[in-house]
Symmetry: C2
Subunit: 283 residues, 2 copies
């Protein structure tokens, strides 16, 4: 007898992060939106302040986080120096955790192929965020990488989501519903996901029901005001997998003056542990 | 007697490129989508092939072009080496021409501020392309720069434009119509523009009628199949200003084997001159 072929292909990256989610009972993605103007003075006096700061955050959070999200804007803003920090930060991430380039790219096909090459081959990120406006052929080059994860913007956490994302279409549903449907079509390699904001936790549950097979990246907790517990419960799939909750400012910038990197790390660790603890309730 | 205050502020960048359009009777924007795999062998043997290639293209087109568009994907794909080429290419552009970062960025406000800082301050581009999906607060940080130009994706030239951009909204019109309306609201600093594909030249004329005051960036001529003459006529505003037609592959990759940079430059110059000549008919 032959075994029945699986419809859905194996994605080693997706399996890797799901194994971490299960093992740690955590959905925590730490957002490295590292701004030189905001990092503690103790790092400002070091050789490469942002890199030293990031490594400190990584050490403090490695037991609690299952993913790290590098917001490319914060590195691009400092040109080549920033890009070097991005590269060395990426190399400093725990290999068992997912690395996400929060890049929100997409363009015509031949250009998106270059973006995919940049983030998946040159930098070797595990995952990327992408923008849906230009449609199928602008995203296909990312989906061609069957061992990566691609999170397409769906319903975002910012006020401007009302301008276009939440508009009703004549064909029924909202624009973000149409995006959700397309992303499910694009999921032939089991590598598609969406970005859906935690500030809309009621909608988050509805979206999970409509898209049981997609990976969710959920920003907007903390500085942006979303509820962590609700987002965890609503975001996870039926296997208690395939969702990440990103916290950036709420974990990397603890209050206080720190006299040593160790003191800073201690404060970050406490914040990460508290977030982790709250996530346990969802498992 | 007091003079009547102008409603629309002066934008030195917009004035600069419009002066070039008028002086050269050209709308030509040369797209530097420079791919190491496609540039002639004579450059491949040089120290920094892409930079040498770009400088050659710039020399060959400077009399015909009014703008240069650097497609960031092609540079990011090569990491720090590519970003260095981008920086030196930007420094090699004629100062009277507009420099556009074709970056298609946008994110929540505090992140978009970083992207704006990256492209407008660190690299000092004159203009950027941006993606509208996330709405007003994701684009405001770009529009705060009142002496830059921001081209928001409206109706693009690729097949995927049918997926979302051309969808009808319940409130009337298409998604791209809604974007067009918003961009006009965002134009308080006279620095807003749109990206509208040349492959839709009938629609291009309609869009110009609806948005007489916006700057248009029109890609899709050449390799993507749009008509140059129709796009020129439809794209320019009532003053025969405020439109750029981008050609990338159709100008930077002439057919043939080239034995010297001079031979390559000659071929590029002929292509640019032919495009320029065709644009004259629109003035």
């Amino acid at each position: 007898m032959h075994s029945i072929a699986m419809n859905i292909s194996t994605n080693v990256t997706r399996n890797k992060v799901n194994a971490q989610i299960t093992a740690k009972r955590s959905l925590l993605c730490v957002g490295l939106d590292s701004d030189p103007a905001k990092i503690p003075d103790i790092f400002g006096r070091m050789d490469r302040p942002v890199l030293a700061f990031n490594r400190s955050v990584i050490r403090a959070t490695a037991n609690h986080a299952v993913a790290y999200k590098i917001n490319t804007a914060f590195y691009e803003a400092r040109g080549i120096e920033g890009i070097s920090d991005m590269q060395n930060t990426l190399e400093s991430l725990p290999s068992e955790c997912l690395s996400i380039a929060d890049a929100k790219r997409a363009d015509i096909g031949n250009t998106s192929r270059m973006y995919a090459k940049a983030f998946f081959e040159h930098w070797a990120f595990d995952a990327i965020t992408a923008a849906p406006y230009m449609g199928t052929d602008s995203l296909e080059p990312f989906f061609d990488y069957d061992n990566k994860l691609i999170f397409v913007l769906c319903l975002t956490s910012n006020p401007g989501s009302a301008d276009f994302e939440e508009q009703q279409l004549s064909s029924g549903g909202t624009l973000y519903d149409a995006v959700l449907e397309k992303v499910q079509e694009w999921n032939r390699n089991n590598n598609a996901g969406i970005v859906v904001g935690a500030t809309k936790s009621a909608l988050l549950g509805e979206i999970r029901k409509k898209a049981p097979g997609l990976f969710f990246l959920i920003p907007g907790v903390g500085a942006q005001g979303g509820s962590l517990r609700d987002s965890s419960l609503s975001g996870l799939d039926d296997n208690k997998e395939s969702a990440l909750i990103n916290v950036s400012r709420g974990v990397i910038y603890p209050q206080g003056d720190f006299e040593s990197p160790e003191a800073f790390e201690h404060a970050v660790r406490i914040q990460a542990a508290a977030l982790h603890e709250e996530m346990h309730t969802a498992f």
